[in-house]
Symmetry: C2
Subunit: 383 residues, 2 copies
């Protein structure tokens, strides 16, 4: 009880409105670095910086939660250095909340190639040069920078995230390729839950005002998803992140989400890992997803793909060369306030680095506006 | 007389203080888009954008004059499109003054490889695939984008710069390789002055509130430099730009400048083309150079070379990994106000695109501060 009371002070999920039509809700996650209004989009800044924009732009863009990758930060510049700098917020000079992952996702991607694709069932083969040993203790991998062997265990992942001082941390889990036999799947499922509990145990030794979200596994097997929810909701996690394979198309994604969230405690926030396209967000909101992270909007921007209410716009196309209008008419982002499609088209054609940053500012702003509109729709009883 | 009175309204060089120790002076160039305090540094935004930063950053950085390259803008997006957009200022959304060159420098670089190196006598051979025909009429070159043949003549260069609507325009000149025989040099010298006079003639047909700076030629031959000054100062140019080969080292640069500026009318502004390193600026100021353009500070920034009062700092070096201090202690730029050397070192190591833009902001700010300090030193009688 005392533990919970302490927890309440630095981390609290406040539900402001619960839809009567669906599991969608509007809420506020309170963290030591401020409030995250939910549902919200979590922008990904792998190395401690949203690609192509500055951390001091985040406040203008109102990016309330930023996702950083522990694996990348472990390898460069190292979590010890970040701790020396006074923690991740201070190192990157961000005042608002940060969530970090366990590092597992990236480590396993060394083994399976592109994990994101793998999780969608489009996966390739095991990368021949990857050196990954998975045991009960943890994962051994080689640093891509210097080839040194590094052990990532539930404990070392949590300790790394303690050095970072992120507001929300994630326990170590194991990711499997999509096409794997039943026996391996079951063994991994059991181990991943043991790892998560070890992570939580390590975390609770020294909470340090951080919250920990469990990762729900089970792939597209709804029975396993339910089992994962049952196991993890018995532990003292502050929230839940839906991870692992979510199937190979929207249909499977939605049925997996639909079969998972009803088994989670309604009073905790639910995050969906690595999904952030507009279609998926729209489809997942009614099932009670509170936050979504994805590098899609920033990556798309760097390739000249502009998010608009009428769908993505490929700015490099000649059709935009003479459009002397903003990317979106009613958009108030810095890019739309200052420049035309024509100028931005030119910057992309001329390979100017400012093209990527101006497009990124728009796309991130678009996502923030999208989520604001979703919150309004829920409050108006439309979702 | 009426012509001059009109000219005074849209372009005026006001000398606020003339040093008694040297030719250095503090002044103000008045243009239709505002004032340029001199001496000043002119940042280069080849394609209409300072590389890696946004045009709306310019006002914060107080970049009073921006240099854009007509050749690049002719090829992409085309000066007709820019005219349609309402001119270059409107197209790129810059409120402050812009200077454009004639396009000649870039066209000749197709013939001689890197003109900048060539002009310093470090040049390589004629580029085998370049297609350049130089005649009395002008230069024929092939667009690097579509291979189309384009004629750049004194008239077409001026008309292109009319489309752009830049505040200061430059007449077409011919650039020769450094190592060239006497006869060729003399023929080119004569032709380049005929081209400049044709450019001026075309310009005066429709001034359009633009000023034109003549380009002083003559290489390192001080007799020719003097002759160039004599020819061009008889014409109705609004200012002078020192161009052509300036020798292969600082010594030759300085003696060329020292042997040129005394032959120019003291009441007109003098620009030095393509030179903007701190050492050259310091050495040229006493000879009465008012403005300097160079892509060095922005290019250096993208390579992690940070300008400081104690000389350039190579940020990627391991020694900076744990320096939890700004790039420069007393610098008020956005980068130094927000981030440490350690974080910026990390961004460069992690290949984050924001590294280049943050370094660029600092380097441009450094140049602006450097020029401000030079103006103060002149006013205090120190130069």
């Amino acid at each position: 009880m005392i533990e919970n009371a302490v927890s309440q002070r630095f981390f609290q999920f406040e539900i402001l409105y619960q839809s009567t039509r669906s599991r969608a809700r509007v809420g506020r996650i309170h963290t030591p670095h401020g409030v995250i209004e939910t549902p919200n989009f979590v922008a990904v800044g792998t190395n401690g910086s949203l690609k192509a924009i500055h951390n001091y732009d985040h406040s203008a863009l109102n990016v309330q939660l930023m996702f950083c990758n522990t694996y990348h930060l472990m390898v460069q510049p190292g979590t010890t250095l970040i701790k020396e700098a006074g923690g991740l917020h201070r190192f990157i000079n961000r005042q608002m909340p940060i969530i970090t992952d366990s590092g597992g996702f990236q480590v396993f991607s060394l083994a399976y190639g592109q994990v994101a694709k793998e999780l969608k069932g489009q996966g390739g083969k095991k990368h021949p040069s990857s050196v990954v040993k998975v045991s009960e203790e943890g994962v051994i991998f080689r640093s891509y920078r210097d080839g040194n062997k590094i052990l990532l265990s539930p404990e070392s992942s949590v300790l790394a995230q303690k050095d970072l001082g992120s507001d929300i941390i994630i326990p170590l889990d194991e990711l499997l390729p999509f096409h794997v036999d039943e026996a391996k799947l079951k063994a991994s499922f059991a181990r991943t839950h043991r790892w998560e509990c070890r992570s939580l145990h390590e975390h609770l030794k020294n909470r340090q005002n951080q919250a920990m979200f469990a990762v729900i596994h089970g792939g597209t097997d709804l029975g396993l998803r339910q089992k994962s929810c049952n196991i993890l909701s018995k532990e003292a996690f502050d929230g839940y992140a839906i991870g692992g394979s979510l199937g190979c198309d929207h249909q499977q994604l939605i049925s997996t989400i639909a079969g998972t969230t009803p088994h989670l405690p309604p009073e905790n926030p639910v995050h969906l890992l690595g999904i952030g396209d507009v279609k998926s967000i729209d489809q997942c909101i009614p099932y009670g997803i509170d936050t979504f992270d994805s590098s899609y909007p920033t990556k798309a921007a760097r390739h000249g793909m502009i998010l608009t209410r009428n769908g993505p716009l490929k700015l490099i196309r000649q059709i935009h060369a003479r459009e002397f209008m903003p990317l979106e008419d009613d958009c108030s982002c810095q890019t739309c306030s200052h420049y035309t499609r024509s100028f931005l088209h030119h910057l992309f054609k001329a390979n100017e680095p400012s093209a990527a940053s101006l497009a990124t500012i728009h796309n991130v702003h678009f996502m923030m506006r999208k989520m604001e509109s979703i919150r309004t729709q829920i409050l108006c009883g439309l979702i």
